[in-house]
Symmetry: C2
Subunit: 427 residues, 2 copies
């Protein structure tokens, strides 16, 4: 089976007006650089990267620039030479320069690489979590480029870690089939929402069974304190309250503000400062303990995650499915997190991120992390209706996906309706 | 005076075939995302960001996405509100997501922001180095966004540093007018060149007066050793030999390989590993001392430089003029380097980078760093003929630019000839 074409769609949902998704630093129209790889034999694969509105045309252009590394490739050959394939995309001798391995070009690589993985899982007739979980330890290790991370984890260590976690696989799978995967909701406390909407949404979330909720902070601190008070009073003392500053604070400001928010017993503080600031996160972590520091949604690549872990800068690893260069790079980050004993709670929300990361969290539990302790997948109740295989939740838990693939296929009518700039939604 | 339009040109020079610019990780056609801002009163400003061939259309698209922050702005108003202006570009609530502050979107910001600074300098009738050097300390500090770096340097500290360096300005300027600014050449040792070409080019460089040369390493180590031997034998024991691995090594590999190359007395090892690896650079620096670690040409922003300095990871700061978001961000990096006592030796080569950074190095000496100790500007003898105000060197030193602006204006006939894909050079 040979890949014969890569289609790219600029899909944008007009969410900015409602304040959905507004935080201390981002306000936009939730968008997807949507990629479909087509084959000479029928099956297709879908991948996407999430963007925030304007600029989606730039990531689309980047996918087009990378597509020639995929078109013409035989699927079995590509599967058998994963590192060579992945490097052809991420270390292209001309395109690497405009990253390197970060920003637009890494996000485009993520969409494209994920589309190929989706294709492989579909051809195998398995949901992505199962497709990954049923690869051998050797196949998983052979899918990872260890370049620039061997000072933290070697292929041999990765293999040993995977082999050690083989025990208990069936029990873990049975547990997930029975209960689903733990999650938390970010739908209660966007900065764009007035207090009364926050209170109402928190009540609804509690009624729906959520025992962990996340609020945005990073506005005026008095507002953050007032909203934290509302949410904590609604969820009670035992539920988890996470806070997310979306990078708006300087390092010392983060430390000072978390002292103000400490009375509301935050479980973690997410993105307390600039995402590139490994040393800053480490200093914040030392000062706000036992509150955990969480980050990862815009961490550019495995080298950033490596350092966050080496520096004891994070207590929660929030890898994103398409900010880094797709499944291959995510695998390296899951293994790094496991080696350093840090739980992975993937970033979701946006467009299709919940659909994506449920697979990663499930795989991580089954084969890498091996524990549910401190593990939760983010859940945001936005835009799932546009997917052919949307996430399903029950009592604040993700149910196991059952259909083949990576779950980010958009409905044809949604692509048409929300294509930018020519779809009816934007006319 | 009001900015009324932003023009963007995709200009590419077919350099790949000759092996010019080839190193351990990059091989391409030296290119520029070339930006011109036009005003309602005649004067124009030019900026560019350097890319490596394919992908230049992506940075061009990113400039177009950012241009609305510039078009319609009054030049005096914009000059009076520098941080607000700069943040409108770098913290755009939709476009920030696809960086943030890194890669394509930061490089595009660099071209655009620099074009506006070029315009300001031209309107003032001064070369950029003089335009900057004649701003007051308060004006310089007001041009810098200290967000996310206040844990390393505050506006008050920056002001104090600038005020302290005011003494001796005239003497330093007189010195530069007499001797020019020290530099080194990278034209001798690209990986694409055969040994005999390396030997010949080194001889020519010595004959031309160069006392500091840089070679590329990161190929098979035996080849690196052989080429180091050739170059050291040609330049003699007293000239400086810099080495540049362009990120190809893992951390432990860098330490091991530098042990092999130590006999040739390297002055610095540049980009020994992945550019994002602050902790890795710090470990390499501890292990290869007294050989200095140098990096910066793809360091994404002030937050990365802040950490490299905080972690004692670099002994040489190689800021690039357009990888970070233009003059404003460069100013913050020059001040950070001065605070931590690390000399700035800007990255050059590519397209127009020598033209750009001569101004930065001169300004740094006059107002910030205040010393020539360990300071050298990179020089590569490529593509200067396409600029209306090309660099001039004598005896291995840059002569002071005298014409107004930032020196990166391309000749109209070069833009036409090398426009991609329609220019005659690409037909």
């Amino acid at each position: 089976m040979r890949i014969v074409a890569v289609d790219v769609h600029d899909v944008r949902f007009p969410t900015a007006a409602a304040g959905d998704g507004s935080d201390a630093i981002n306000r936009g129209d939730y968008s997807a650089t949507y990629v479909r790889v087509r084959t000479d034999s029928g099956p297709t694969g879908s991948g996407l990267t999430f963007t925030n509105g304007r600029g989606n045309e730039i990531t689309c252009a980047a996918v087009r620039a990378l597509a020639h590394h995929v078109v013409g490739r035989d699927l079995d050959d590509l599967a058998a030479h994963q590192v060579e394939f992945w490097r052809s995309i991420t270390a292209d001798p001309q395109l690497r320069w405009i990253g390197p391995e970060k920003g637009v070009i890494a996000m485009a690589a993520g969409a494209l690489v994920n589309a190929v993985w989706d294709l492989r899982a579909r051809v195998a007739g398995k949901p992505m979590w199962r497709f990954l979980a049923e690869l051998t330890a050797e196949e998983l290790v052979a899918s990872i480029d260890f370049h620039h991370i061997t000072d933290a984890i070697t292929p041999e260590e990765a293999l040993a870690l995977l082999e050690k976690q083989a025990a208990g696989y069936e029990e873990r799978l049975a547990l997930l089939e029975k209960d689903g995967f733990p999650s938390y909701t970010t739908s209660v406390g966007w900065l764009g929402y007035p207090d009364e909407k926050v209170r109402e949404l928190t009540r609804t979330a509690v009624a729906e069974g959520w025992r962990a909720v996340k609020m945005k902070v990073g506005g005026p601190i008095a507002d953050d304190v007032r909203r934290a008070e509302i949410i904590r009073s609604e969820i009670g003392p035992d539920a988890l309250l996470m806070m997310d500053a979306n990078q708006v604070w300087d390092v010392d400001e983060a430390i000072a503000n978390m002292a103000r928010l400490r009375p509301f017993d935050p479980y973690w503080i997410e993105e307390p400062t600039h995402a590139d600031d490994v040393l800053g996160h480490a200093r914040i972590a030392r000062n706000v303990a036992p509150i955990r520091v969480a980050t990862g949604e815009v961490a550019a690549n495995r080298v950033i995650f490596k350092q966050l872990l080496q520096a004891d800068a994070i207590g929660v690893c929030q890898v994103d499915a398409c900010r880094v260069a797709g499944v291959n790079e995510v695998l390296s980050i899951l293994l790094l997190a496991a080696k350093y004993g840090v739980p992975v709670c993937p970033h979701a929300g946006g467009v299709g991120l919940c659909e994506y990361v449920q697979h990663l969290a499930i795989f991580d539990f089954l084969r890498v992390g091996g524990s549910l302790d401190g593990r939760m997948v983010e859940y945001v109740d936005h835009l799932h209706e546009h997917f052919t295989d949307p996430v399903r939740t029950r009592n604040g838990r993700y149910l196991l996906p059952t259909r083949p693939g990576y779950s980010v296929e958009l409905k044809p009518e949604s692509i048409k309706q929300f294509s930018f700039p020519d779809g009816p939604a934007w006319a």
